[in-house]
């Protein structure tokens, strides 16, 4: 139960492990990430929509890339974050890591969903159909399914502790599987049909298109951090509601 006899780890690690400390530190980090997220996303949006040049083939429809690519990237990073913090939660029995994993799942799923939706919307004008069974699309779809599985498992379990253990195991298994999926899907697709859609391989985009994309990607990361922190803090409060410091905090707010 207790962390006392666990392998030696840096001190900050255990400090982070204390929900109280984590609540405080995230409290100070939150405004930083929030402002950064808003600033970057607004800049990125304005730049992307008004100033970035049109694509010579696709006209304005290409601008959806500024949502599509960041969300696709995020969906994958969030999965890794989730699986790793789940592993930390299992190995070192750190509650906060469990909570991080828990808060990641829905955010990651919505990113995967966003990537799919924007991709589908984009696909209609460029490929002439909402959906094709291309390798990338398929592996993103499977990622979404993995997220769904994890969320379904969460909601099926009653107790947060057991739910955290179980979903951590599942997301780790999924993590091992992700490279296999990517590999299998790539291979499967190239065997069956020659690459019809080579858009993803077209020459690197011009720098004035690429820069706003970078801004958007960083902005999305900051947004993820913000969203995660907000959910995490909520989660800490509900799960630690019995402890003295939360009770104190709550009465202070009530007043």
């Amino acid at each position: 139960m207790k962390t006392a006899k666990q392998p030696v780890l840096p001190k900050w690690f255990y400090q982070l492990a204390s929900p109280k400390w984590c609540y405080q530190i995230t409290g100070t980090l939150l405004p930083f990430f929030a402002t950064l997220a808003i600033a970057l996303l607004v800049t990125g949006f304005v730049w992307a929509l008004l100033f970035a040049p049109q694509d010579y083939q696709q006209g304005n429809s290409f601008r959806i890339i500024y949502i599509h690519v960041p969300s696709a990237i995020l969906a994958q990073s969030i999965y890794i974050t989730m699986a790793l913090s789940g592993a930390i939660g299992i190995i070192w029995k750190i509650k906060v890591a469990d909570m991080v994993a828990y808060t990641c799942a829905p955010i990651g799923a919505s990113m995967a969903f966003l990537a799919l939706i924007t991709g589908a919307i984009w696909g209609k004008p460029t490929w002439g159909s909402w959906w094709v069974w291309d390798a990338r699309l398929t592996s993103m779809l499977i990622l979404l399914f993995l997220y769904f599985g994890i969320m379904a498992l969460y909601s099926a379990m009653e107790k947060p502790e057991t739910a955290a253990r179980s979903t951590a195991i599942l997301s780790l298994v999924g993590l091992v599987n992700i490279p296999i999926i990517k590999y299998s899907v790539d291979w499967w697709n190239t065997l069956h049909q020659p690459a019809t859609f080579t858009l993803t391989e077209k020459p690197a985009m011009p720098i004035e298109m690429w820069l706003p994309l970078l801004v958007m990607v960083v902005g999305f990361y900051c947004f993820f951090a913000t969203a995660m922190i907000v959910r995490l803090r909520n989660e800490i409060l509900t799960r630690e509601k019995r402890t003295a410091w939360v009770k104190k905090l709550v009465t202070e707010i009530d007043r």
Partner: protein, 215 residues
């Protein structure tokens, strides 16, 4: 003289926002029988599952021979027999097959004692009937037969955790098991059990009451 088999310190357990017990400390020593009493819902099963290492939702320390359960998991499992609310009997197998399987997964049980154990729980004529065709009490007897399969020479330092073992057992059967428990503890074992019926034991029984230990 009386080594402490289990040492429980400052146990705290909460379920459904209700504290079942806090600051609960006691020892289970060789030769001791602890009868856990308390109203329905007072936390007896929860406590026994914690002691068996089957429930983790607690705070505090549970030590077996001076080491925490996590550290001596395998040794503790070899020393432990747990009888829970569940039947723990495969209904598709016969009594004998069930017990044979038990001797494999719990090597402290002796396969040579199966026949005598079946006889002691009154199932000698039902040894090869599939358990789904047994009555409620007979099914429980199959599980309890394990208590008769521990060689007497190995009683020392072992622990039995019995959660309402007498459910569905008839009067004669209860007396028989009580007698066996008494001889087990006199051989160096230790028992913690719950039952709502009064015990008629030929041995000293200490009681721990879980009512009013929490909120």
């Amino acid at each position: 003289m009386h080594p402490r088999l289990l040492n429980i310190t400052e146990l705290y357990c909460e379920r459904d926002d209700r504290i079942l017990f806090e600051n609960l400390s006691f020892q289970l020593e060789q030769g001791q029988i602890i009868h856990l009493i308390g109203k329905n819902g007072s936390g007896k099963t929860s406590l026994l599952r914690i002691l068996a290492g089957l429930y983790q939702g607690y705070e505090g320390q549970v030590e077996y021979l001076g080491q925490t359960l996590a550290e001596v998991r395998a040794a503790y499992n070899r020393a432990l027999l747990y009888v829970g609310h569940n039947l723990s009997v495969k209904s598709g197998l016969s009594a004998r097959e069930n017990l044979t399987w038990y001797t494999k997964i719990q090597p402290q049980l002796d396969a040579d004692l199966i026949d005598s154990a079946l006889k002691k729980v009154g199932l000698q004529y039902f040894a090869d009937v599939e358990c789904q065709n047994l009555s409620a009490g007979q099914k429980r007897r199959v599980n309890l037969a394990r208590l008769f399969m521990l060689p007497a020479a190995n009683f020392a330092n072992t622990v039995w955790i019995l959660d309402e073992p007498f459910t569905a057992i008839d009067i004669e059967g209860v007396a028989n098991i009580e007698e066996h428990i008494a001889s087990y503890v006199s051989g160096g074992g230790a028992v913690i059990l719950t039952t709502h019926q009064p015990l008629q034991m030929n041995a000293a029984v200490s009681k721990i009451c879980l009512d009013n230990l929490g909120t």
